[in-house]
């Protein structure tokens, strides 16, 4: 992916000619804007990019990008993208999905994509609701949530996308927020730079069917107390006054107030390449017990599925020579009829 001789691209170069059809005020707009902002920075021309999505409001995303794109079927984008990426390792592939698309119907493909570590990025627009089908609860809706399909409140324990992704030993896991545009842009960029499956959960507001679901994390007023921005090598500190932190005691974590004998050096230090357990610990931090981490939870290097598949092919060709059909057909037991 050399940047030599490439014309300098702008966000507008990545905008397609299609009208954007999300509800006014939808958080999807912000993610679209940040994506268009980040892509030119990658030095990859639009024709080398493919956006693959499932079905849902979020999955309309590819139509708005002036790149190649597939708006596939509900939940299956990871599988489509896998087939594309292994055969076309030269392309930059993005999967765009929703909480229903990725975690309900598509949960299995999601898990298998992550464990295989295909070199692509998956951005999950988590609005904790089914937007496109007008407001049923989703696997990330909190217990008790009243929706069209749960008039007495949801009873399923919600999935924690981060825990699930880590359960599949994902190599890159990050979280950001639609309204936190700078952070979002930076996170998308980090994802793009990761080699392997980069998974980003974005807290996204569906202002029509689940308005304010993330207010605690997105609103400037409350954000600092409810969210902790991860920085590699830095202790876990949060709060408007940056006076609170996270400490590990045995296998338990706790929120502590700095001062009174507790100093920064007592706090857990973030390590993106840390042990899997470290990432789990971050993923386990959920409101209201804890502030919720945003940023890069984990970023480790591991062989990618597409590389390995292509390597096997290369190796086989080296070892056995490029396949010769005529020779194959004539190998083993044959006989001549005169």
């Amino acid at each position: 992916m050399s940047t030599v001789n490439l014309p300098v691209l702008k966000a507008a170069d990545f905008a397609s000619d299609q009208d954007v059809r999300w509800c006014p005020g939808c958080g999807d707009y912000s993610i679209l804007a940040q994506m268009k902002k980040v892509l030119p920075e990658l030095g990859i021309p639009p024709e080398q990019m493919v956006f693959v999505s499932g079905i849902g409001c979020s999955s309309r995303f590819p139509y708005y990008m002036n790149t190649y794109g597939v708006h596939s079927i509900h939940g299956r984008a990871p599988a489509v993208a896998t087939g594309l990426k292994v055969t076309r390792p030269d392309l930059k592939v993005w999967v765009i999905t929703g909480d229903g698309d990725a975690l309900s119907i598509g949960g299995n493909h999601f898990v298998h994509l992550l464990r295989r570590n295909v070199n692509l990025n998956i951005i999950l627009f988590n609005n904790r609701i089914y937007g496109l089908t007008k407001g049923q609860y989703s696997p990330t809706s909190p217990e008790g949530q009243v929706t069209k399909s749960t008039p007495m409140g949801a009873i399923d324990h919600p999935l924690n996308p981060m825990l699930l992704a880590l359960g599949a030993e994902a190599t890159f896991v990050a979280r950001s927020i639609d309204a936190h545009v700078k952070h979002l842009a930076a996170t998308l960029k980090r994802a793009a730079e990761h080699k392997g499956t980069a998974f980003v959960e974005v807290y996204q507001n569906c202002n029509v069917f689940n308005d304010g679901a993330w207010n605690y994390a997105a609103d400037r007023a409350t954000r600092d107390d409810n969210v902790i921005e991860l920085e590699h090598g830095k202790p876990l500190i949060f709060g408007k006054e940056r006076d609170k932190g996270i400490r590990l005691v045995g296998t338990k974590i706790e929120v502590v107030k700095l001062g009174n004998g507790i100093s920064e050096s007592d706090l857990l230090v973030h390590d993106e390449q840390g042990d899997l357990i470290h990432s789990f610990l971050l993923a386990r931090m959920r409101r209201a017990e804890f502030p919720e981490p945003i940023g890069v939870f984990r970023d480790i290097q591991s062989p990618t599925f597409d590389d390995q598949m292509n390597d096997q092919i290369k190796l086989a060709k080296q070892k056995r020579g490029p396949g010769d059909l005529n020779q194959l057909f004539r190998s083993g037991d044959t006989w001549q009829v005169a």
Partner: protein
């Protein structure tokens, strides 16, 4: 060694020449019957016989030893004339235990040779087979030429000097049986000895033991009087050329690889294991040096979707399964047809519905592949007719798919998949290339992703091409531009366009031709794996003087354009199918011809005899 063997193989016993023989090997799943059958097949093929085989094994990996459920069988017909089926009636049955005997005896012809491993007819064996008394003692045995061979003992004898464990020694008895059979039909042991040497190269003792057992079996035939004469089947007069033995699944795999090479495409194969399709996956996995990508997906849905992704990227995307897995692919097949991307979807049919009879054959997925999707979603469907024909079918499917930019379905079945026949090896360099062009972006300003050519195919523009960026999806799209469109007239237009595109396939395929008189009392119409049985039956009926012709349909959608005309040249139309009348329904609906069905859903192929009988009956009333 080979010279020793050659001299050994010179039988001094009387020899009887016959034009063809059907042999069935039956034993416990653990007895290695499939291996024995394959060796016999290959050897006969090498001898120049025409052959057709039918393996038949239980769904369990290893059903309880000695039980009826555990019986595994392999039937082969080899002949000095062309054969199209593994044979209806068995000339010789080799039964390794009582269960194998009782479950297979019905197919042995009167006077046929019945070789049993008498060591396995002890009380405990009878009990396992749910028998009170030994079938060998029954008067019915007089109908057959019964030969009792103490195979266990003789095998032990043969290998004893090697000091193997009893279990190991006992395992060699299939090679003993093989030696006997080879002697009986004057087959060469050379290929099997080669096989043993390769296969057991890491365990020299076992290698040696199997060799010894094989030779001992041969020697047993030669030295004892019990087997009587041996038989000879002369080579068949096949089209001249180089041949090899070919199984259906292997032929599909090789056909796909060949199609990829003929079209200069990278082959991507996404699949999920399922009987009886898995061997395509196994076969293709071996050829990474041909640049074949095989992806064992997490399920069938991911498998077909991965192939769609590969197709969008410009590869030859293929997915395969059997009935239950094809059901799961339905939604994505609809997507593929909306995207108008070229792909191949293969259904190796098995007994249904649901899990059904996984290891048995059936033709009951035709309507599923035609109609098993929401909305108006036509797809071309081609059915292979025999193991070797699978090779051509795969190539033709890709020719159509890539020409018309759409998924094409291939139907095979368990009978074809595991059956074998001689295959005339083609020269790949002489085969017609498959032309595929991707727009290169030089005329980007005029590019429209859904602009169509004379066959209604859209351009296959692939990612990486500057200027041709476009998005495809499952929502209805405006023709030409490919933009999402909810316009009523456009939807109607697109539904008709997709239908017409499939109809256009008829321009690429030959007209239907019949074997037999161009008009007459009866036309027998067949499709898929019943080809051989139907063809043979019609030939026999013709020899009986009946006014009957045979039409085999390779293309199930669309039909050849002259089909309606041909059907109307006969007083009656008979459509034998291994289902309840699926093709019959289509033909009746389309041509208003009062086609009659002969339908069998027993997990088994047709026998020629039953078809001949059916044909005569229908002809009588014609």
């Amino acid at each position: 060694m080979s010279t020793d063997v050659a001299s050994l193989e010179q039988s001094s016993k009387p020899v009887q020449y016959v034009s063809g023989v059907t042999v069935r090997l039956a034993g416990d799943s653990g007895d290695g019957m499939q291996l024995l059958g394959t060796q016999l097949t290959n050897t006969s093929a090498l001898l120049g016989n025409d052959i057709a085989t039918f393996p038949d094994f239980p769904a369990e990996i290893r059903a309880p030893r000695g039980t009826r459920a555990g019986v595994s069988g392999f039937q082969v017909q080899f002949a000095s004339h062309e054969v199209f089926t593994p044979g209806d009636v068995v000339d010789a049955l080799i039964a390794m235990n009582p269960a194998a005997l009782v479950t297979n005896l019905a197919d042995l012809r009167k006077g046929g040779l019945l070789i049993v491993n008498e060591d396995n007819f002890e009380d405990k064996d009878l009990k396992l087979a749910n028998l009170k008394t030994s079938p060998l003692e029954e008067p019915a045995m007089e109908n057959y030429r019964l030969v009792r061979v103490p195979m266990n003992k003789l095998t032990m004898e043969a290998v004893k000097e090697l000091g193997l464990s009893v279990k190991e020694a006992d395992r060699c008895k299939n090679f003993f049986a093989m030696g006997m059979v080879f002697w009986l039909y004057g087959r060469s042991m050379e290929p099997t000895l080669r096989f043993i040497r390769d296969k057991f190269s890491k365990t020299p003792d076992i290698q040696k033991a199997n060799e010894k057992a094989l030779l001992a079996g041969w020697a047993f035939g030669e030295t004892t009087e019990t087997l009587g004469a041996s038989y000879r089947v002369e080579p068949a007069s096949l089209t001249p050329g180089l041949y090899r033995n070919m199984m259906g699944n292997q032929a599909l795999a090789w056909g796909l690889m060949t199609a990829a090479q003929l079209s200069g495409k990278q082959l991507f194969y996404g699949s999920y294991p399922i009987t009886p399709a898995s061997d395509i996956l196994h076969e293709l996995s071996r050829f990474k040096n041909f640049g074949v990508y095989t992806f064992q997906a997490e399920d069938e849905i991911a498998a077909v979707c991965s192939a769609i992704g590969a197709a969008y990227g410009g590869s030859m995307g293929v997915t395969t399964s059997s009935g239950p897995g094809i059901a799961l692919k339905a939604e994505a097949m609809g997507l593929a047809l909306m995207l108008e991307l070229p792909m191949i979807i293969i259904d190796v049919q098995r007994g249904g519905p649901s899990t059904g009879l996984p290891t048995k054959t059936e033709q009951a997925d035709l309507l599923q592949v035609l109609f098993g999707r929401n909305g108006e979603s036509p797809l071309p469907v081609i059915a292979a007719r025999s193991p070797a024909d699978c090779f051509d079918t795969a190539i033709e499917a890709w020719r159509i798919a890539s020409r018309l930019m759409m998924p094409v379905v291939i139907l095979s079945d368990g009978y074809i998949a595991n059956g074998a026949e001689p295959w005339l090896i083609p020269d790949v360099n002489q085969m017609e290339k498959i032309q595929i062009q991707h727009p290169d972006g030089s005329d980007a300003a005029n590019f429209k992703p859904y602009r169509r050519d004379d066959m209604l195919a859209r351009p296959w523009a692939i990612p990486g091409t500057p200027g041709l960026m476009h998005r495809v999806g499952g929502i209805e799209k405006e023709d030409v531009t490919g933009n999402i469109s909810y316009d009523p007239e456009n939807h109607q237009h697109m539904v008709r366009t997709r239908e017409q595109k499939v109809a256009n396939v008829a321009k690429m395929i030959p007209p239907a031709t019949v074997l037999g008189p161009e008009s007459g009392d009866l036309l027998v119409v067949s499709w898929g794996g019943t080809y051989g049985a139907c063809m043979t039956a019609v030939k026999q009926a013709q020899e009986m003087g009946l006014s009957v012709a045979h039409l085999h349909l390779r293309h199930l959608n669309p039909f050849p354009s002259n089909l309606g005309h041909v059907l109307k040249q006969y007083r009656k139309v008979l459509i034998p199918e291994l289902n309840m009348g699926q093709l019959r329904m289509l033909i009746r609906a389309k041509y208003l011809v009062d086609a009659i069905g002969y339908n069998k859903v027993k997990g088994k192929p047709f026998s020629v005899v039953e078809l001949v009988e059916q044909i005569s009956n229908v002809c009588k009333t014609a």
